[in-house]
Symmetry: C2
Subunit: 196 residues, 2 copies
């Protein structure tokens, strides 16, 4: 069991960050987060999640037109904005990442398997997006995840070949507490859970 | 930053559990996991994730016909199997959980907002499923997540009114190391990431 301080960092005291200090997010930081998140489970070890780290001013400019008005200023100011995406042809890696079952690629290949492929990419890419958030917190970074943007515009600008598809965005850096809002109420166990 | 032992528990040394000891999973364990996972972020604090803890023999029997052959024996033997689900009418809670914007419920209400409602429920319910896995590990439990089952059969049996919808399953307990398989290869940073 993790100690109280670790549970606070991951869950209890962590907050969505809306403003960040000028401390940069380094390549080493990004590698460290990925090296953790990639160990967490996905269906058939499929690992469809993809992560585009938008850090340079030029890349931020490409992202700007896709942002909703309420998310624009804080996103342009964040040290990094992560496009959490998924690979619609993730199954091509299965011979390497699920080597004990050479038939696994067939579960997802071809037009007849499109629905299975799409839901697997979205579900497991999303799981990996959540792992990303908690891995970033675990190494001392703060996150501001967002769905408020135009996925079609991001896909057209960053993924014109259609292989990767955007899911959600995460602003990433070291939080400036001035941008942290009070926590909203959470549902109670009985609202969301049943024990049968 | 979390210490090395905590990173091992969450990511580096954790494995999918395929067999469990006889140590039970208590109501207190389930509340503890939920109290952590509910603090992690969802879009507009929507919290659509729902968790049905299938623990009694009678409830396990109801689940059995929906399981794929390869997952049946280990699931029937697990102390608890969690149905990770999402609430298709999650927006009805928004006046309580997103109180500063009384208009938020309108982002998701009515037939014209069905697509937005469905993708928000699925995306954020899945994020909360990932938070569940890491919160369970954080309190000393082990997880065996699975997509190999018939969602339609689970929904018909457990959610006949259609309000909640199944997403994936997680076997939960204390791992018997005899059921742990060697770790499969993970993708490299350059396979899955870009820095722009």
């Amino acid at each position: 069991m993790l100690d109280a301080a670790a549970l606070d960092v991951l869950f209890r005291e962590a907050h969505t960050a809306n403003a960040f200090t000028t401390q940069p997010v380094t390549d080493a930081d990004l590698h460290q987060v990925f090296d953790l998140l990639r160990m967490a489970p996905t269906s058939a070890n499929s690992q469809p999640g993809r992560f585009v780290f938008v850090r340079s001013a030029a890349a931020k400019k490409r992202l700007e037109p896709a942002l909703s008005a309420g998310n624009r200023a804080k996103t342009m100011a964040a040290p990094v904005t992560v496009i959490v995406a998924h690979d619609m042809r993730f199954h091509e890696f299965l011979p390497r990442v699920f080597p004990h079952d050479p038939g696994a690629v067939g579960w997802f290949e071809g037009e007849a398997k499109r629905a299975s492929r799409e839901i697997t990419a979205f579900r497991n890419g999303t799981l990996q997006g959540a792992y990303f958030i908690l891995a970033a917190r675990a190494v001392g970074l703060d996150c501001g995840p967002m769905s408020g943007f135009d996925n079609g515009k991001v896909d057209a600008e960053f993924f014109p070949d259609g292989r990767w598809r955007s899911n959600f965005l995460v602003n990433l850096g070291h939080a400036d507490p001035a941008g942290t809002m009070p926590r909203n109420p959470r549902l109670a166990f009985d609202d969301a859970c049943r024990i049968l």
